[in-house]
Structure formats: structure tokens, C-alpha cells
């Protein structure tokens, strides 16, 4: 009962929304699609749901052509980023709406509505109208309606994006539990947040400018990003990607001797590379690469210092609050053992702990 997309393409008004998207979604697994805004995530979900026609490509469900199946027979539930419920129906009737369309018996409808409302913690809100609920509660109603149907495919389009940060964390934890007993359902969940993608996903698909750049387990994608773009999307703050020269295992950035010899890079031929380094693996130090502070974000437990080194912007993540002024000249120490090396086109050449040969899904 796999859902397989092959070479899905869509261009609207000269803008490519989907470029040869090929992916297989398996029952009983949660697939997270991560990408920045406008990466094509929503378009992909809408195409899978049948709400968006594609220009070319194929879509099959259990081997049968799915593109010809009309939306109302696709056995697909969807939760939108906006909280979409039927405004004229109360919470109970909202959840019961699709069940009535499916022609279930009254008792079965009542049982399923009660059960799914209980699972999202809204058992006492049956008689309320959506407009009388908070944003988080409205989104739970939408979740309950999607879950109660027990569909073969469940699509969630950034369901937490419009919620405040506390609620987002809470619902994310609840989702993890809700999804874990979804049986044979294909769950596809889009997000812009690396933490969400990795925490929820059995499989992570990294999407950028209408393409799927990499597919793998959260660990695979995180530890072996296929390209610099993936590396930057899958890390928060985005992985620092900069151009440098490698000579005898030593990295030079913008004329500065940046590191000692990195053993895992020592056997690579000398030359120009692009390097990736997570924000936690850069620190402010007395010596090293010099740059100018362009921006400072203080979150409390962490300080993010943005530093321009020549043409390359760096983000340095340091614990605690640090008093750094804009325009200061600072020195950066790069951890040589944590460097990712990419070729000049941005494809992964070497990871800190793995070799390219074992990278899957490229």
C-alpha cells in the first residue's frame, strides 16, 4: 500500500513548484518533509491529496494510478497550517462530518468522535463552536477530525507553525504519541524546523526549491548531509558553510590559518573546498580566523554571534549571555575534527566520522 511519487513536476506562472519529485511513502511510518518556506512542501502535500494538479509525473497507490482518483475518494485526511474547521458546526459535528459522509452508523460515529476528541484532550468541548476555542484547541479539533477517519494517508502541513512556542512543544510531544499508534497509515508531516523533523520523523525528506535533495533516517540526514544546502536546512542555526583551502589536512579561510591538521581530511587532495561546521563547533578565542561581528542574538541560555569573515558569514553558538558589540573584531576557533568537507559544487566529500561511500540516498 505504498504511495509512490515519480518525477512530479509543476510550474505555475514560470515558477517551478515541484521539480521531478520522486519519493516513496510507506504505511506505518511517519515521513517528515523539511524545507524552508516556499520549498514546495505544501504543494507536494496538495498534489498528494489531489487538491493540486501536476504538470507531469506519476503517483501510484499500491501500484494503481492515484492521479485519476478524485480528492473525495483518496482516503486522505489533511491538517492545514491555518486552523481550518467548519465554522457552522460545533466540535462534535466537526469531527463527525467526514464519518457521516462515509456512512458509518450513529453509534460508531459517536464512539469514534468521543475517542478521538479524548485523544487530543478536548473531551469536554463537544458543544463549542470553533470560534469559541483558542488556536491550539482549534488545531486539536482539526487533528481529531483527521484521526477519527482512520484514513490510509494522513497529511499534516506545518500543523504547529501558527501556534505559540510553548504550545508547539506540548503538541509536538502529544503528536509523537498519537502517531505512534497509527497502524498502517502513511503519515506525511511538513515542517521548517529541524528539531521537529528529526524528533517526529521515521524518515526525513529534505526539500529545497521544489526538489527532494535527500531522503533518509534523521540520523543519516543529520550526520551525512548530501549537500551544503541540506546541511544548512537540517541544522538550527543553519550549518556554517564557507569556502576554504585544504593543504595537507590544514584548512585556510580568507587567508587565515584556520585549523590544525584534521585527520579525517588529511588524505583528501589539496585544493579549494566548501566546508561545513555547526554553530556549536565554532567558538570565540584568542587566536584564529578574524572577522567582524554583524549581529548578536541572545536567547538567555545561549548567545548567537554572527560574524563576517571576508565573504563568509558565520554563526557562533556559545552558552550563556555574552557581551559582544556590533562591529567588534573577534577571532574564531573552528573545531578541526567536526569539519564537513564538500566539493565546490556543494556535494558531500567527507564527514567527520563517515566516508562518502556509505552515504545513502544521494
Amino acid at each position: 500500500m505504498n504511495l509512490s511519487a515519480t518525477d512530479l513536476c509543476l510550474t505555475v506562472d514560470g515558477v517551478d513548484h515541484l521539480r521531478k519529485v520522486t519519493a516513496t511513502f510507506e504505511p506505518g511510518r511517519l515521513h517528515t518533509v523539511i524545507g524552508r518556506t516556499m520549498a514546495g512542501k505544501t504543494t507536494l502535500l496538495r498534489a498528494l491529496a489531489g487538491l493540486q494538479k501536476v504538470d507531469s509525473g506519476s503517483l501510484t497507490r499500491a501500484g494503481a494510478d492515484f492521479l485519476r482518483t478524485p480528492v473525495w475518494r483518496r482516503d486522505t485526511a489533511m491538517v492545514y497550517q491555518q486552523f481550518i474547521n467548519y465554522p457552522h458546526l460545533n466540535v462534535f459535528d466537526n469531527v463527525a462530518f467526514p464519518l457521516k459522509r462515509a456512512g458509518l452508523s450513529r453509534d460508531e460515529i459517536r464512539r469514534r468522535v468521543r475517542q478521538s476528541l479524548a485523544s487530543v484532550g478536548l473531551a469536554d468541548f463537544e458543544q463549542r463552536k470553533p470560534s469559541q476555542l483558542s488556536g491550539g484547541q482549534q488545531q486539536r479539533v482539526a487533528m481529531a477530525r483527521a484521526l477519527a477517519r482512520e484514513t490510509g494517508i494522513l497529511l499534516l502541513d506545518e500543523p504547529l507553525a501558527n501556534l505559540d512556542y510553548k504550545l508547539r512543544e506540548q503538541l509536538r510531544d502529544e503528536f509523537k504519541a498519537l502517531f505512534s499508534d497509527q497502524g498502517d497509515t502513511i503519515v506525511i508531516y511538513t515542517t521548517t524546523e529541524p528539531a521537529e523533523a528529526m524528533m517526529l520523523g521515521d524518515v526525513v525528506l529534505v526539500m529545497h526549491e521544489g526538489r527532494i535533495l535527500q531522503t533518509g533516517t534523521p540520523q543519516e540526514v543529520y550526520e551525512r548531509p548530501a549537500t551544503t544546502t541540506v546541511a544548512s536546512i537540517i541544522n538550527d542555526p543553519p550549518m556554517n558553510v564557507f569556502t576554504g583551502r585544504l593543504e595537507g589536512g590544514q584548512v585556510t579561510v580568507a587567508g587565515f590559518q584556520a585549523t590544525h591538521v584534521s585527520p579525517h581530511l588529511a588524505d583528501l587532495p589539496d585544493g579549494a573546498y566548501r566546508f561545513g561546521l555547526r554553530a556549536t563547533d565554532v567558538s570565540l578565542a584568542a587566536g584564529g580566523v578574524e572577522g567582524e561581528v554583524t549581529f548578536v542574538e541572545i536567547s538567555g541560555s545561549e548567545t548567537f554571534v554572527h560574524v563576517a569573515v571576508g565573504e563568509s558569514p558565520f554563526v557562533v553558538q556559545i552558552e550563556g549571555i555574552h557581551d559582544v558589540a556590533l562591529g567588534d573584531l573577534v577571532k574564531l576557533r573552528l573545531r578541526p575534527d567536526r569539519l564537513f568537507a564538500f566539493d565546490e559544487q556543494g556535494s558531500l566529500v567527507r564527514t567527520p566520522s563517515y566516508d562518502l561511500a556509505s552515504v545513502e540516498g544521494r
Binding site: 491529496a49 487538491l51 478524485p70 480528492v71 473525495w72 483518496r74 486522505t76 485526511a77 489533511m78 492545514y80 491555518q82 481550518i84 467548519y86 465554522p87 457552522h88 458546526l89 462530518f97 467526514p98 459522509r101 462515509a102 470553533p130 470560534s131 477530525r145 477517519r149
Partner: protein, 281 residues
């Protein structure tokens, strides 16, 4: 200073406007209870004190000697208005939904052009429309009949219904239709089950416009009916003669606008109770 004087200013303006609106009604009301002497004897306003009220005018319009019976024209008007409004709302909201949700293209013609085409029907002066209507009804054998008048009135009301409803449907998130389809409704069912129940405010406003325009139509009824069918505005005009019976005319005019006043009050109450707002957030 502004805050002190502002309420005074505000209520003065509102009071003046209220007089301006209510004045003619008051005038018609007093006149309808006067006789010839009281009307011709200069302006008087207070019954008993300034003139002796009589029911002559009101008797005349309900079949009294020298008047007409307004009941039949009233029923005709009601049938034409209700039927034409209902048909216009039904067809209009279907057309409006299609125009709001689907993209049509025929050469350079797009959705907005189609909407403009609908609305533009009301830009043409009625006198231009009445000639083709006359020939069409004559060809169909519908001159001087209620169905004929209903068809013509639908043609006049449909643009209003489409225009109001397109605007309203555009305000309802598309995701609601999509969700209904995902939830198992084919498109028409999605419209009926998910969109229409949330369109009550728009439908009410469109219905009110239709009712007012339909009820008040004089020109088309005047030109397209002769002896068999007479609508209320025609009946009122027919009361006129070389010496205008002002009392009878006033009574007939008040009787004619009464349904619209009741309708306006009812819609106003719906609005103030909030039954129409907040259907869609």
C-alpha cells in the same frame, strides 16, 4: 474640547438625518388620514387638533368607492418578488460560487470580466432593455403574465445576487471547500454542506437587495403587463387622476412600503443580534 462637543455634533447630525428620512413618512401618514379639505387647507400635522382624521384614503385602497383594490396587485407583487428573488439567489449563488472557486478562461475573458458582465447588465438604462424584453415575452407568449414578469425580474436581480455572493464567497477560505472534499464530499456536496451553511450573512444581504429591487420595480411591470396582471407600484400610479386623491395615494404608498420596512427591521435585528457576523473567522 473636541471630545466634549463631538457627541453633541454627532447626535445633531443623526437627528437631522432621521428627520430627513422619517419626514416623508410622517407627511404621508398624516395625509392618508385627511380628506380633501384638510389637504388643501395648508400644512397641518396634528390629528384632531389641526384636522379631523378620516379613513377615506384607507377605505379607498381596499375596494372602497372611487378607489381600487390593492390586495390583488399586492399578491402579484409578492409572487413576482419572492419567486424572482428565490430563483436569483439560487442561480446567483451557484454562479457566484463557480466564479469564486474556479478559474475560467475564454481568450482574453477571465473571471473578473464575467463578473463585470453580470454587473454591467445593471448599467444599461432600463428603457434600453425593455424593448428586447417586450419582443422576447411576446415571442414566448408571456406578455401580461406573472411568469413573464418573473423571468424579466430574475434578469434584473441575478446580477445583484451574483455580485454580492461572489464577494462573500471570496471571503470564505478555500481550504474549507478543500477540506469538505477531502472529507468525502464531491464538489457540489461540498458547496451545499460546507459553504452554504456559512453563507447565511451573504445570502441575507443578497436576498434583501433582491427583495427591495424586485418589489419596487415599476417600469418593467408597466411596460410588460396590461390588463391581466398589475403589480402594486402600477396600482398606486393608477390611482392618480387629474385631481390627485392625495389621501388615497398616501395610504397606498404606505401600504406598498410596509413590507420593505418590516424586512429592513427584521434584517436589522438579525444584524444587531450578531446572528450574521462571525460565521467565518
Amino acid at each position: 474640547m473636541r471630545s466634549r462637543l463631538y457627541p453633541v455634533f454627532k447626535y445633531t447630525v443623526i437627528a437631522l438625518w432621521a428627520c430627513f428620512v422619517a419626514g416623508p413618512f410622517f407627511w404621508a401618514m398624516t395625509t392618508s388620514f385627511k380628506n380633501a379639505n384638510a389637504v388643501q387647507g395648508g400644512p397641518t400635522y396634528l390629528p384632531w387638533a389641526q384636522y379631523e382624521p378620516t379613513l377615506t384614503g384607507w377605505r379607498n385602497i381596499f375596494g372602497g368607492a372611487g378607489g381600487v383594490d390593492v390586495i390583488d396587485p399586492f399578491v402579484n407583487s409578492a409572487i413576482v418578488t419572492l419567486a424572482a428573488s428565490a430563483i436569483s439567489l439560487a442561480l446567483g449563488s451557484l454562479a457566484a460560487y463557480a466564479l469564486s472557486r474556479y478559474r475560467f478562461r475564454l481568450g482574453f475573458i477571465k473571471n473578473s470580466d464575467i463578473v463585470f458582465f453580470f454587473v454591467s447588465q445593471r448599467i444599461m438604462p432600463p428603457v434600453v432593455l425593455v424593448i428586447p424584453f417586450f419582443y422576447l415575452l411576446q415571442w414566448g407568449g408571456l406578455l401580461d403574465t406573472i411568469p413573464g414578469l418573473v423571468i424579466v425580474t430574475v434578469a434584473l436581480l441575478l446580477p445583484i445576487a451574483v455580485w454580492v455572493m461572489v464577494d462573500f464567497f471570496n471571503g470564505i477560505p478555500r481550504e474549507i471547500d478543500e477540506m469538505a472534499m477531502l472529507d468525502g464530499c464531491p464538489p457540489f456536496q461540498a458547496f451545499v454542506r460546507a459553504i452554504l451553511p456559512n453563507s447565511l450573512p451573504g445570502l441575507t444581504v443578497a436576498a434583501m437587495f433582491c427583495a427591495v429591487f424586485g418589489w419596487n420595480d415599476f417600469f418593467f411591470a408597466f411596460r410588460l403587463t396590461f390588463t391581466e396582471v398589475q403589480t402594486l407600484p402600477q396600482a398606486v400610479v393608477a390611482l392618480n387622476s387629474s385631481i390627485p386623491p392625495w389621501w388615497t395615494l398616501s395610504a397606498a404608498a404606505l401600504f406598498g412600503v410596509a413590507p420593505l420596512i418590516l424586512l429592513a427591521l427584521w434584517v436589522e435585528r438579525l444584524l444587531s443580534k450578531g446572528n450574521l457576523s462571525g460565521a467565518v473567522r
